[in-house]
Symmetry: C2
Subunit: 447 residues, 2 copies
């Protein structure tokens, strides 16, 4: 009988693993269990669905269950949930939600691609149905259906990280009155240093979002969120407090956990148990700059780690060297990006740093429509090694972060950045690229 691979979770990580395994092992019996209705979708696209820029949930789906079945002979079972995994008996208890039945599924290899779940703080009223995390496309579709039914006017977003900010803007686009409540003194407090984060506030407030910083949520009541400062009307509450790895299934099966209870893996995405892999938002990874194990839930990482797991299962060789901490988003017209370590993270990781922050234009200053851009660059004292960068600016600013990401991978120094042959023409850059202007400032600032 053919060997069987079971992938638990039908999104980016799981289906990348399944696809890569299929490519190398035509003989393998591959089953993918997905508790929702959708496979391989762009969770990062959900805010654009909510905001109306993307018309239908299906537009976010890269590949449907039918396509996986017909093109890759992957037996995708949607609305089938893995309830328990027995790693000795090599069986999974599966719940077929649609038909309300359960069955046992044997396997030789298994991939945990179970993703992450929104963090729900332990506050009174948190379990009310109108207090929502939006993590899966299923979540988004049902939220949208509900929002249409009830014509929700007042939306409160709790937490001002990426997802919180993107959802705040999305509901604003839908015509809602949006309040954004954040306990920290700035938005994106886990993503940017405070001196960069404050540059985002203006755009949000100009949009008409009620930005409430340093305000703690105390409880959720019918029709309102109660904070230390008062009562905010709410037809709907969207949680943007980050996510936690959905690792309970793996942990219960006896697989070792890593940082933040993510599933611990090696560089080939192998877990502590033979024949068991994990990838994507449920798994731990490695930070290439801090050189520490971390948990980072991002679509790019899910695709990459799923690919590596699948190649390994298929008998090929691939490793994942870890993340650089790169991230990007757009808040109203402001673009925001980071890579490597922030100044604070670098200090936490034990680095003594030099820092420069510059303000310049995205193009030659004389090109009509040029935008302001701020770049903060962090490097190691003494060696000059680049440790990270943050960018906040207008259109054309943020994707420049990739230059620094590549520089981090190559362990370049600030001098290397100054010397770097970056592309210049007046509609694209000033003659010294903004990143180089920051590097030059570090080089010439006496400590």
């Amino acid at each position: 009988m053919a060997e069987r691979l079971v992938v638990i979770g039908g999104d980016a990580a799981g289906m990348s693993a399944a696809s890569q395994a299929r490519r190398r092992r035509p003989d393998l019996d591959i089953v993918a269990l997905e508790k929702g209705r959708f496979t391989s979708y762009s969770a990062c696209g959900i805010p654009y669905l909510v905001g109306g820029e993307v018309g239908r949930a299906e537009d976010l789906v890269a590949r449907t269950p039918e396509e996986f079945r017909s093109k890759q002979r992957i037996d995708v079972r949607i609305r089938h949930e893995a309830m328990a995994v027995d790693l000795d008996a090599r069986t999974i208890d599966v719940r077929d939600v649609e038909h309300e039945r359960s069955y046992s599924l044997g396997f030789d290899f298994v991939v945990f691609g179970t993703g992450a779940v929104p963090i729900r703080p332990d506050l009174p009223g948190i379990d009310a149905p109108w207090v929502r995390g939006v993590q899966t496309l299923e979540d988004a579709a049902s939220l949208l259906a509900e929002a249409e039914r009830s014509r929700c006017r007042d939306v409160v977003v709790v937490g001002a990280g990426y997802i919180g900010l993107e959802m705040a803007e999305a509901f604003h686009r839908r015509g809602a009155q949006v309040a954004l409540v954040e306990g920290a003194p700035t938005v994106m407090g886990r993503t940017l240093d405070a001196d960069m984060a404050v540059r985002i506030h203006g755009g949000l407030r100009d949009l008409g979002v009620d930005v409430r910083l340093g305000e703690q949520v105390e409880r959720f009541e019918d029709g309102a969120v109660v904070t230390g400062s008062g009562r905010i009307p709410a037809d709907l509450v969207v949680l943007g407090l980050g996510v936690a790895p959905a690792s309970a299934l793996a942990a219960d099966a006896g697989v070792e956990l890593g940082p933040r209870r993510s599933v611990a893996v090696d560089r080939r995405q192998r877990t502590s148990v033979d024949g068991v892999w994990a990838a994507g938002d449920c798994a731990s990874t490695w930070h290439r700059v801090s050189e520490r194990p971390v948990h980072i839930a991002l679509g790019t990482v899910a695709n990459k780690t799923g690919r590596v797991a699948g190649i390994d299962i298929g008998g090929g060789y691939a490793t994942f060297p870890g993340v650089l901490g790169t991230a990007i988003t757009k808040v109203c017209q402001t673009e925001v990006a980071r890579t490597g370590l922030t100044e604070r993270e670098a200090a936490d990781a034990g680095f003594a740093v030099d820092v420069a922050t510059i303000e310049t234009t995205t193009t030659a200053s004389y090109i009509p429509g040029t935008q302001r851009v701020h770049v903060k660059l962090v490097s190691e004292q003494g060696t000059g090694r680049v440790l990270g960068a943050q960018i906040v600016g207008g259109t054309g600013s943020a994707k420049r972060i990739d230059t620094v990401a590549a520089a981090l991978a190559g362990r370049l120094t600030v001098t290397d950045l100054v010397d770097l042959d970056l592309a210049y023409a007046p509609p694209f850059s000033s003659v010294w690229d903004p990143i180089q202007q920051a590097a030059r400032q570090i080089r010439t600032t006496p400590r």
Copy 2:
């Protein structure tokens, strides 16, 4: 008496050198000789001046002679031309054009920042006043004045490199009927591989430019350019055949020359003669990928090499590691960029290569307004070392080349590119960045 530095040429290279030297040597007597009227201007901005996007020639000037004099105590002498340099006597014969007088200027140190001049092919009629190269801001200002006087309707651009393409578009914007004559079978034949270059033709033709490829100019007549295929009406001919280093002054003084008769320099921009530096378009440089001396006339290089010369003159330490061959431009709505070696250049440099060309979108495919982008990636067989990339695509495509430039500086491999933590959010990229899609294709294509 104070030591004297004389900088010959008051644009990017010369004035960067003068500024850096001033910063480190407050005692130095610094004279800058500039035969034109402008200092430190953006030659790359000239097409935007011609096209009308930039209003006045002065908008392209980063720093005026008055500013250099008052803020940096640099004695800038405009309309003063260095006629001959005696490196034994340490004197320069200077012609004061404005006052029609000559004088001798002594120096201790000298920087050649004499730039480059448009190549003028030896053809009948080439010396007619309406056959113009546009290299200096002086050239541009007089060209514009003339174009306004004569309301030139028919413009022929000879040569379809960057400058030719940019000037063709600029004159089209001014309302001229533009023909572009190029002897090679594609535009940008020295910049891109032919398979990438052909992707630019459509946009130019859609604009209404009469693109004539594989057509040789035979002579210039009054009111026409005559090619192998016929007679093209012309009120004005703009030469876009590239530039040659303006090295005669240095060569006559006995300084050694390098590739294409550029002034040979070491990594600190020192020439073969003690106390003599060269920088910018007149100087040679080093190609970091082909590992050959090259001549590349680009504003970024002029700024960088001028800076290095000035630091060295000032007693500091800096070196220029050379160029990566990065370049970028916009042709109508099409963005074009390259870095490293093209497939052809890599073969010329003795590399055996793997190549991938992909077509994808600049953002997630479901984001409204997403643009097509083509990426060609060239790597070394066996080692997988990245050797170069070319990008042609819509808005948001071309600046991505910087990621590859940084990868070249770090000597990354295609596997490193696949692993790279590049910034992803739906409005900025697909989950695998276009560059990574090309890298993945090289990795999975069996040779």
